[in-house]
Symmetry: C2
Subunit: 781 residues, 2 copies
């Protein structure tokens, strides 16, 4: 009843491993799942029912808390002040590298897309010109559709068959990662390669997508790779940055990478920093923020620099970002007090349209989860969308007769004449043939009168449904640019209508009409409203929009519009990314515990009983516990029993599955240590080398003799885990857990005995639904 | 040996209260101060030796952790979901109000300053014109000096005699407040009134000061007042926002107020948010940030709107902020790759000059602490500075002959002809007579050739020393504008020199020379470098500068310049605000524990033994503990002893001095409760009404009979205080303490017995000095 097949989930490999060894890691203390799993995994039925009131147990947590065991403390104590300075400098170097590489990737994507789109345009244009007079436009249609088809097919195949996690914008996945959920394979090199190729294919394939969202994912992958100083995929270890091989440091760098991605995408370094903080920060640290900002700046700068060379204007650094809203300058940027209510009304429209978009996409995603879960089906759907997109566009171009003069001041790079008179071009065709980025810019800046209201209306309608259908396909693509484009189209429409209303009603009002007459301003407001209504980001989106316009004057209206869009939209439906996160049943922790959860205490929330280990434990016991697939725990409280007394055992530390596995692998047994005195002592390096892909317990061979040995855990466990008493209220537990980015929180009684363990799923389970506090069920998928 | 007299410290009243009842609150567990206090308090010697390796115990902490006792939990549990929604809405309303009022105050200050400066200019100008020909300019000098004198005297008197904490910019105090240190009287209404009047007087008095810094303080006071729904000074309680009467909520609102202040001062709403976060955030919360941003936006908007009315251009909202850098548009804003090294070099110069400024100001401040500690001396010093400023300015004007044509495009509002030919004006005089804000703008935007290099050089030199002398005087004044002005002056000088070098060396390079020739760009970079070198803010300052220029193009160079200035400056000396915080011996917590402090554990850091209370405690014992002036504890662990057993007592809660005082005041004794059953149960409201100024223990009368009664603390104590084991390393303790904004952290052994208590001073004590980890001494002053 309660399974989502993994073929449409973010990561299909978890599926295979589960089928192979039933090794899906469970969090500690979760009870046995009540439903049987046989029907869902092997049989793979045609229709997979989906229940969204579930919380998946397949996701592990990242541990933002350092494991301060003796090894760690010894290393830290040995390190001199200069050592820490060097570390700090290498953090800066890594951030600079992250920014540089992210900028390079953005530059590569941009140039390849532009080249391929140029070729495609040339081919189609020549063909159209050949056939327009002869009346054989259907051949051009087929040519165009086939071209788009091919690109989209390649893009869909590499994503669906090689790396399903590279589908979509990647922003929900990065949100989860920064929130502290380990999404399998999300920051691997292979994902990056597929993502980059996929986004090029889908953008060139003419889908209603943008290349900005994927940049954020790309930046995060770059960061995760660079900061570790090695690539597990390429099996290369550069032996540098070994200190950074742990969740704490890696997550910080991934924040920087995501920020660099935003920064490259929108030319918005501050917006990038705020995005990372909004999504990822639990504890704000000034130096970290400053480093993130550095990475962002370097990324914009790199992109800017190389693009300036590409555009044969080297050294001019004034046009950052993949998408550039163009310059808003002079009189057109001013707005007046009486326009504020209009802006707010547009924000409300954006919120409504955004909610509609999200609801439609939600239904579509559920449909996809149920029926479209095989890679080949996914590829076919993507190709269908490509074909429909091409057909719809061509039909609209065919029947539109919105001809515009091709003046010398016209900035269109790809004008299409079609049935227009000489010296004119078809504006609908231009809107579809241009890259979406360029269309957005045209909507913002073209002279009043460039667009026919009917064209705009039809374009909005078509593009809205196309974009909605496209998001969630098995192609790498972002939703930012389509949203901006839809919004800019209806925003400009609003501007035109306002101008016509005021000019008919009050002919004398020259001054006011001059202000109303600038539809570009309304296009900008509409774009902000639509984007805000769909993604529901707050501060960071405001800053991104302001930075992309390059002018702070619009700060206030953009903020008001985004705020309205968010309030109106939230009334109906969550943001698009949150919907997708929820549909994946990810244990996502919000900022605060639900407001009405004060009546819950740690006692009710925690998982119990807890599997504890003794400070000196038998190897056999450890192997058995680790191999127990029904309770696949990841963290184990270590307890100590006063010898000879019958007092209950007290908590004395916490040890992780990953540490135990390294210990077993190196056979750190008490008896062996005695017999082989020369044996090298286990060092922190051994744990770092194994990070982050610790081998499964099945791959470690322990002989029957070794099972009788003992393991001394004192040196390796974290002797000071954070604890809370049983009576602690849920919001208090939540705050501690969230602020410190914990993975395990031990609940103790007033004698310091372990009574339970709180992990991410125990907290993410509670959420505010329509009928007050709701509790999600836990499911193993 | 170790006292700073309080007359020059931020708050002189602590002095009086200490003298009156020796009630200076001490933190729990601090050992007795070793030195006697008699000599310093009464005798007040002429020279007061000062030792900066001290940490004052007179500052209390704010408690960002909610006291989740039974009363609180009952209230939260009674509250419905709608109740929480209403609370959330009222938070937004409060933030809106904060923004609105802060904007109004900024508007008021701006208009009054402009009016008074206009009057002063008129009077002096008429006088000068009368005497320039006749040769009696000395009379004009005296007139001018007397005018300045009078204003500064009034400003200094109200500050020195009525509210010493209103002196300076208030930014160090707000930094401390947001960091979690309760600075006495810093957010009171009286402080606000004095601050506003004081800043008007000092700006009009012609001192080298700005009115921007004080806006941040003003915003914070407004926030603290509005959010509490009452004014203790005015003895008015509006019975609203009672829920917000606790440290947690108040501190959030004060963050919003500070952000609104920055936003009003610089027209930089995002910069304001980042300032608040940089200084105050421990735990970042999306909704809170969004609210802070709302307050900031409203503040800019209000200021903007009312100023547009004042400037008779109602409804034009395009010019935010008290200081406006003017529009950087068109070709002048572009910069090229080869200019980056120049910018970085200028950043280094800014860092050097900033460090010099800070060192000089540091010596000056120590001198002031030692010798200038009486209010009358402070007023005299302020008047001396006013006189010297006037004299120096006049001398420079007198001897300068830098005449500039008074063209139609000239934007000077206060041109002074002096000895120049008709149709010209004296540019030195203009620089001194203008408000500093206008001078900054002129330096950024005036045509190349407006300023003579010699004028600029002399102006930089003079203004540098004047500004340095002025900061720290007993007047309300900020250091932002003087820094910007100094930087803009030498930056413009750099620009002019570069242009002359390149024009002589390469005559043919027309294009390059055109770029070099824009000295306004270099003025901006210089201003950023100088300001960064002095205050050492990072991300927030970058964003403030970018927002004030209204153009994101300069983001990268400004960031690089600020980074360089900070690195170079930090090598020599701390930032100006940090110096002043350190000189006040405030227990300020930085972002992280010192890097090399892993060898310290909670056991070494904590204060012990700890005064504990029993769950049911005798009133007499409590009164005695609270009255003990030698160990003026503020938080008491509550322990429970198993009756009849001799096991040691276990920790079961934490109770604060303020709570005990309210309990004593309301005589919540077990015996009385039994005898008077109708007695009203003590509610959370009683604690809120007493917040934040709880009466001292001396004012509560407890009779001898009552001393024999018992008090039941269970209902009022926080039953789940955060605890750490003794072995926890200092960085780990620090992280918990800082991330959650704690006030007391209980250290327990493995039987859950109290062994120590960690408070702010225990953590702030350790810092990285020149010779590794240093430990500050604790002192009672």
């Amino acid at each position: 009843m309660a399974n989502i097949t993994k073929k449409v989930s973010w990561s299909s490999r978890a599926d295979e491993s589960a089928a192979a060894g039933e090794a899906t890691p469970l969090l500690n203390g979760s009870e046995q799942p009540q439903h049987s799993r046989q029907d869902s995994l092997r049989g793979r039925p045609k229709e997979i029912p989906h229940n969204e009131k579930l919380l998946s147990l397949k996701y592990e947590s990242l541990d933002y808390d350092n494991i301060e065991n003796q090894l760690f403390l010894e290393e830290e104590r040995r390190m001199s002040y200069m050592g820490f300075r060097c570390l700090e400098i290498s953090r800066w170097v890594v951030c600079g590298l992250i920014g540089f590489l992210t900028g390079l990737i953005a530059c590569f994507i941009d140039i390849v897309v532009e080249q391929l789109a140029g070729i495609k345009y040339q081919v189609v244009k020549e063909n159209i010109e050949k056939f327009t007079e002869a009346g054989g436009l259907s051949i051009s249609l087929i040519l165009w559709a086939v071209l788009n088809f091919t690109f989209v097919m390649v893009g869909a195949i590499i994503v669906a068959f090689f790396e399903p996690i590279a589908a979509g914008s990647g922003i929900p996945q990065i949100k989860c990662y920064l929130n502290g959920v380990k999404i399998p394979r999300v920051v691997r090199l292979k994902t990056l390669v597929i993502k980059v190729c996929g986004v090029i294919c889908s953008v060139v394939g003419g889908l209603a997508v943008g290349k900005e969202g994927p940049m954020i994912h790309s930046g995060a992958v770059v960061a995760a790779g660079v900061s570790q100083g090695r690539s597990t995929s390429l099996k290369r270890d550069f032996k540098i940055f070994e200190y950074f091989r742990r969740d704490t440091e890696k997550r910080d760098f991934v924040s920087a990478g995501a920020a660099a991605g935003v920064s490259a995408a929108f030319g918005a370094p501050v917006g990038g920093v705020l995005f990372s903080l909004e999504e990822g920060a639990s504890f704000w640290n000034q130096m970290l923020t400053w480093r993130i900002f550095f990475a962002s700046m370097i990324s914009t700068f790199t992109l800017n620099f190389f693009l300036s060379i590409y555009h044969a204007n080297p050294g001019d650094l004034s046009n950052p970002g993949l998408i550039n809203f163009g310059r808003f300058e002079g009189d057109s940027v001013t707005y007046n007090l009486y326009e504020i209510p209009l802006f707010i009304a547009m924000g409300a429209i954006g919120g409504l349209l955004g909610a509609l978009f999200n609801v439609l996409n939600y239904w579509l995603t559920i449909f996809r989860i149920r029926y479209v879960h095989r890679p080949c089906l996914q590829v076919m759907e993507a190709m269908l969308v490509a074909a429909v997109t091409a057909t719809v566009s061509f039909t609209m171009i065919y029947f539109s007769n919105d001809c515009q003069p091709l003046g010398p001041e016209s900035t269109e790079e790809y004008p299409l004449q079609l049935f227009c008179a000489d010296g004119e071009y078809n504006s609908m065709a231009t809107a579809f043939f241009n890259t979406p980025e360029r269309s957005v810019r045209s909507l913002f800046h073209n002279q009043p009168g460039t667009y026919n209201p009917l064209t705009l209306g039809l374009f909005t309608l078509t593009y809205f449904f196309l974009a909605c259908w496209t998001y969630g396909l098995a192609v790498s693509a972002g939703v930012f640019i389509p949203s901006l484009l839809i919004g800019a189209a209806w925003g400009r429409l609003c501007g035109i209508l306002l101008a016509s209303i005021t000019s008919t009603s009050s002919v004398g009002a020259q001054h006011s009409s001059a202000i109303w007459a600038d539809p570009g301003k309304y296009a900008l407001i509409g774009a902000a409203a639509q984007l805000g209504g769909i993604v529901r980001m707050t501060l960071s989106l405001t800053v991104i929009m302001v930075e992309a316009t390059g002018n702070v004057t619009y700060g206030l209206p953009i903020m008001l519009v985004l705020m309205t869009a968010k309030i109106v939209g939230d009334y109906f439906e969550e943001g698009l990314y949150d919907i997708h996160i929820k549909l994946q049943s990810v244990p996502f922790l919000h900022w605060e515990a639900p407001a009405t959860s004060h009546w819950l205490t740690a006692r009710e929330v925690m998982s119990s009983p807890v599997t504890c280990l003794n400070r000196i434990e038998k190897v056999g016991t450890i192997v058995d516990i680790l191999s127990n697939t029904s309770t696949n725990h990841n963290g184990f409280p270590v307890v100590v029993q006063v010898p000879g007394s019958d007092e209950p055992a007290k908590l004395c530390g916490l040890i992780l599955r990953s540490q135990l596995i390294v210990l077993l692998k190196h056979k750190v047994f008490v008896e062996l240590a005695r017999s082989r005195l020369t044996r090298r002592k286990l060092q922190l390096k051994d744990f770092r080398d194994a990070y982050p892909r610790f081998p499964p317990i099945q791959s470690i061979h322990v002989s029957q003799d070794e099972r009788e040995c003992m393991m001394e855990l004192t040196e390796f466990m974290n002797p000071t885990p954070y604890t809370v008493p049983q009576e602690t209220s849920l919001p208090r537990v939540f705050k501690l857990f969230r602020a410190l980015g914990l993975r395990h929180l031990v609940v103790v009684d007033d004698e310091n005995r372990v009574v339970g363990l709180v992990t991410r799923k125990d907290l993410a389970r509670y959420h505010l639904g329509k009928h007050g506090l709701e509790e999600l069920q836990l499911a193993q998928t």
